[in-house]
Symmetry: C2
Subunit: 498 residues, 2 copies
Amino acid sequence: MFNDFRTESDSPAYIQLKVYIETLITQGVMPLHHKLPSTRELAGLLGVSRTTVISAYEALERTGWIEAVKGRGNFVSRAAVHLEEPPSIIDWTERLGPQAFLSEEMDLMKHGIKWEKGMIAFTSIAPDERLFDMAGVKRAFLDRMALEGNVLMNYGYAQGYRPLMEYLLGYMRGKGVETEGKDILITNGFTEGFDLLLTAIGQRSGRILCENPTHHTAVKMMKLHGFKPVGVSMEHDGMNMDELRRTLDEGGFDLAYLTPSYHNPTGIVTSPEKRMELLRLLGEHEVPVVEDGFNEELRYSGAHAAPLIACAGIGNSVAYVGSFSKILFPGIRVGWIVADRKLIGYLESLKRARTIHTSTLDQALLFQYLHNGNFERYLKRARTEYKRKYELAVQGCREHIPMKNLSGEGGLHVFVELEETLDARAVLEDCRLRGVVFTPGDIFFTNGRGKNTMRIGFSRVPEDRITEGLRIIGEVVNKHLEDSGILSDPGKGGGSYE
Amino acid sequence: MFNDFRTESDSPAYIQLKVYIETLITQGVMPLHHKLPSTRELAGLLGVSRTTVISAYEALERTGWIEAVKGRGNFVSRAAVHLEEPPSIIDWTERLGPQAFLSEEMDLMKHGIKWEKGMIAFTSIAPDERLFDMAGVKRAFLDRMALEGNVLMNYGYAQGYRPLMEYLLGYMRGKGVETEGKDILITNGFTEGFDLLLTAIGQRSGRILCENPTHHTAVKMMKLHGFKPVGVSMEHDGMNMDELRRTLDEGGFDLAYLTPSYHNPTGIVTSPEKRMELLRLLGEHEVPVVEDGFNEELRYSGAHAAPLIACAGIGNSVAYVGSFSKILFPGIRVGWIVADRKLIGYLESLKRARTIHTSTLDQALLFQYLHNGNFERYLKRARTEYKRKYELAVQGCREHIPMKNLSGEGGLHVFVELEETLDARAVLEDCRLRGVVFTPGDIFFTNGRGKNTMRIGFSRVPEDRITEGLRIIGEVVNKHLEDSGILSDPGKGGGSYE
């Protein structure tokens, strides 16, 4: 006993000693009524100060494991009691329902591409944390703490932290959104926002209209909520309008889920004309819209297009889900929904039943960071960095990868369509052997298509590795083309989407 | 134009100017192709520095609202386009499903007791933020930021932040829990943890066994998930075992939801003997258990009882949901589930589909705070403070309120049972007129009982106000007793629960 105790880290020694003794008790090494060494004795034995031992004993007394008996010493006062026979061994898989199985089955982190150290990974579209402005974060934290630290650490309101809500409503007005009659709800990122909407919406047709391909997490979530995603093909400037019309005529939809800017995975920006036209069409068919504001800020060139919720003017059919997670700090999980006030009221109650509210500390930190004017400065810098990587990625794809089409007008990824006969998953297998991975495009399609496509996320890959990785992918694609008897033609790359 | 521009707050002036001009554009005051004043001219007009105007114009250019034409000046390059006719006005209530309506209907924050400034509010059981150790929080933040700030702000893992997971597993072992074969998932507080479990569990009987009364948020959540809560009456030392046996014999249950320590709302601690007995009974009937670890740390006296998951030894039928939200920092929304490893695997996938992961910053902050040894110190202090309030509350109830029973052995609230004939909601109405509110107990009951009960939360009420508030409640109760013809008998208060 005690001879294997070592103080290890920078954590207080008395806590380490407390945990160590707890383990001796719970494992039955120190039985009930066992007398502990005196504090002086144990301090000598372990080579720690007597204060450390006294503090550890006090802590053990507070949690009920030991008892000090005046003039006699400290005794174990509570045995590790548990049933001799475990009450029952449950086979949990027999107890679970369809949502548990489906979420596991569609969990890309479990069944997706395994990454190994040293690989060039084009799989992520998270921001590059080396760009983060940590001095600004620290200042924002200290500024806000000084103002109202205690309040931030206690319960807040389900709808959100008021200063952040007001800031974001102003931010949306800056995008041209008419906020009269609308309201805002703060969420744990885009994912919770979309999940709340999918929970709130009643199933009538059970169908959701979306772009094809589209964000795979959104597809997973629609399916988990029992909705069937029905995709409309993408062209270089947005959905194919004829197909959209036909699809709308064929049957009702409970919702449309759309990502008009730097669409995931294709990177396509829907043109202003198509934005207006699709709003008109969806309006005629009375289909409400969930707009995914994903990456809207990462425009490197070209004209700015207003979000659908701005195009809708005083209309209330669009619910906009926003997040800075592809730009600022995904780790703090703050997103928002701007929508019709009545709808937000119901979503607020659902949110309260799900997570009570989003971390007030995170909301306050984000607010103060924005309020201090860091976002504008950071965005300027991030745009410059990502733009360079974006250009490198486009150039690398065109130079090295023989393809049918390349898309992506901004954001943190591009999308490559290989020759029809090629299998991107087989290409991935060979690339992985050479230390390069990407995301196979088929997971984004709603109808099993896209086997010849791949998403290349470049945000977290260092510049020299971008070119190197794309060269390797190109070599593997060429090999696959040769094997399938098609002539390699690198010059063919870079056609527009149509 | 520009004559109502005022720089107001400590936010950078150029951002305020940018927002101001955006509003002019989106409201159509500055139409497309409108020429903006020169930077020199506008600086003079507004009395701001020229740098401010230049920065504002640059920011407007980046977001696409204006365009600099060499040698000619700055022009509005994007009109606030939106459809002339809104695409459609949607009646959202027609589009919503049962979960939206039910969550709104059961939302206590919307339909519960309205609080007004100056009132003595016994409605909250949140911790008193004046006790928070903000210096420790600040130090924890700065310590962790210095170590790995950038990483904390980027995406993390659905299961949780590794150092916190390991700390909490050790913490659970300290409570006597056998963690072999088990694993942990970090959640956004208890609420998300319970929600994930309710989502994962398949409906067979559709019934969940629980204490009666029980945590009203848990009742709401069970109903939202389509489960029927079936309550078993409480005695002073836990559930009535005969009733439990009868209830278990009457039909199957998909789950039992239990709060063995400082139970909400009664404050009852289930005795060690009953813990063993109910585990045995539930085991025989193969009913898995969700244990709510609520307030376990706030013991002021009496023996410590091991949580059910510890009592179950190597058994895997108990899923423990923990949170420090009633002690440390509810504002940061961090909780955890410890359960069978296989179950945690499925819950992890569900969590990823819901909120991706819990804020890494919050997890890291909490970890560092615990790791620095603050929790032990804080708990010691918080226990002393809350114990004093607890004793004042018990004394005040016994002295002033004529009642059938008082319960609550620790934690942040006590529970009062008035004479059967009294209506706690009517008492509340009259108390409110005198500036005192509490939580009527009926909302905690699964079977419409408890109309004569009230929960008194004392954690956030200053000490002198506790006594004053209880005196007023006592006077109102006496008045109601007189009106109903029953003799007032304050001395009768404070009987045990049976």
